[in-house]
Symmetry: C2
Subunit: 246 residues, 2 copies
């Protein structure tokens, strides 16, 4: 059954959905043991290296993807090569449901930013699960509703906030997942992406990101070295978003 030479490779020890750490945080948490068994049987697990394309814009929809581990960038590109990074998807999250429920082909591509292990639940099994379990559909409804809310928020912020504020916003959201505090009490964030990706995410250019980073450093808000960001005082960053009058 396994295509041993397939690339990207099948995971050597495909994890069980039953023991999957991410399940409680995902849509699949509503499944019964019986349905979970079906999911476990049906899923196709693969691994991807950083930079690898998981799905390309224009690909037909094969099902829904579930991230076992790693970070995935969902990117939309137009004819002229302009691209916008639409969303980051992290371990425990799913992607591809937008296309699945929209009944079209992928309108954005998915790329592994870190080494990833990703399960694909193919259309036939998925349909059976959805028919079996109405709550699953509602989970996806909720998820799509939140995604749409975020997208609308992004639209508004892109036109109303300067790049510097948007960058501060991004750092703040990334800190939850990629941040830690060192001995000196300084917040350290390991960015999961390059400058160009940050630019795509904020709707601007890599050069502008570099410049904005410099002004942030000059103003003692944060220190960047490569993909590491050091933030000695979180309050300074918060002030970027909601300037306090002194």
């Amino acid at each position: 059954m396994a295509k041993t030479h397939a690339f990207p490779g099948h995971a050597p020890n495909p994890l069980s959905c039953f023991t999957c750490q991410s399940r409680s945080r995902s849509e699949w948490c509503v499944l019964s043991d019986e349905d979970l068994d079906l999911l476990d049987q049906a899923k196709v697990t693969k691994t991807y290296r950083p930079g690898q394309i998981i799905i390309a814009q224009g690909d037909p929809c094969r099902g829904i993807y579930c991230i076992e581990s790693g970070t995935v960038a969902l990117r939309k590109t137009d004819a002229e090569g302009n691209s916008a990074l639409v969303r980051l998807a992290h371990a425990g999250q799913t992607f591809g449901y937008r296309t699945y429920f929209g009944r079209g082909e992928f309108t954005s591509s998915a790329e592994a930013l870190e080494p990833c292990t990703i399960c694909l639940i193919e259309t036939p099994s998925l349909r059976r699960l959805l028919d079996h379990n109405p709550a699953l559909g509602f989970k996806f409804l909720e998820h799509l509703a939140h995604d749409l809310a975020n997208a609308e928020e992004t639209i508004l912020q892109n036109v109303s906030l300067p790049v510097r504020t948007r960058l501060a916003h991004l750092l703040l959201t990334l800190k939850d997942r990629y941040g830690s505090v060192d001995d000196a009490g300084t917040l350290v964030i390991s960015l999961p992406m390059r400058r160009q990706d940050i630019a795509d995410l904020l709707g601007t250019r890599a050069e502008t990101i570099a410049r904005t980073i410099r002004t942030l450093e000059q103003d003692q808000v944060a220190n960047f070295s490569g993909r590491r960001v050091m933030i000695p005082d979180l309050d300074n960053l918060l002030d970027e978003i909601d300037p306090v009058d002194h």
Copy 2:
């Protein structure tokens, strides 16, 4: 049962969902006669005048709204008063489902652009319908998926296309619903909104819209007089979107 002095007013002759012209185009087309009866009983119909607020940002979710007739603008505003017109909703379409399925309060406001007749299907009835009829949930899934695709498209276009091209795009989408062809074969579009709304929709300012309109007139692409737009040759407008090399 009817609050006779309520304002906005109840429609004098509430229309039946059975005879509703818009139903075939809406999510409700999947309902059985039995469920349709439930919908018909449960719905609360009101009329709104142009400019009237149907729901305000921050309002709690009461259910899902269905537009009998008229056009509704869904608008998102931030603390500083910047606003983005997120979507237009037309006769036969629903709105409020984003908030309903997202389980929060409204993150955008809904405003009648034209005289509107709108039905509200309140949460309890809605829940019963959704439980009864899985296909209805899938309809909303499809709808949300399309909305999200549009939102992502908007994000990309806002950063990659100039205002002029975005305006051309808008005219092209409005022509289907608000356009007609006069004796001389000229396409005439009656815009359902003011300049400020167009600006909000395109993520720019009213002044910029005025200036862009002027350049479009100078280049013989379209003629604006108030809310009427005359387009003698549609090809010119299409060239704006996809410039053809001559």
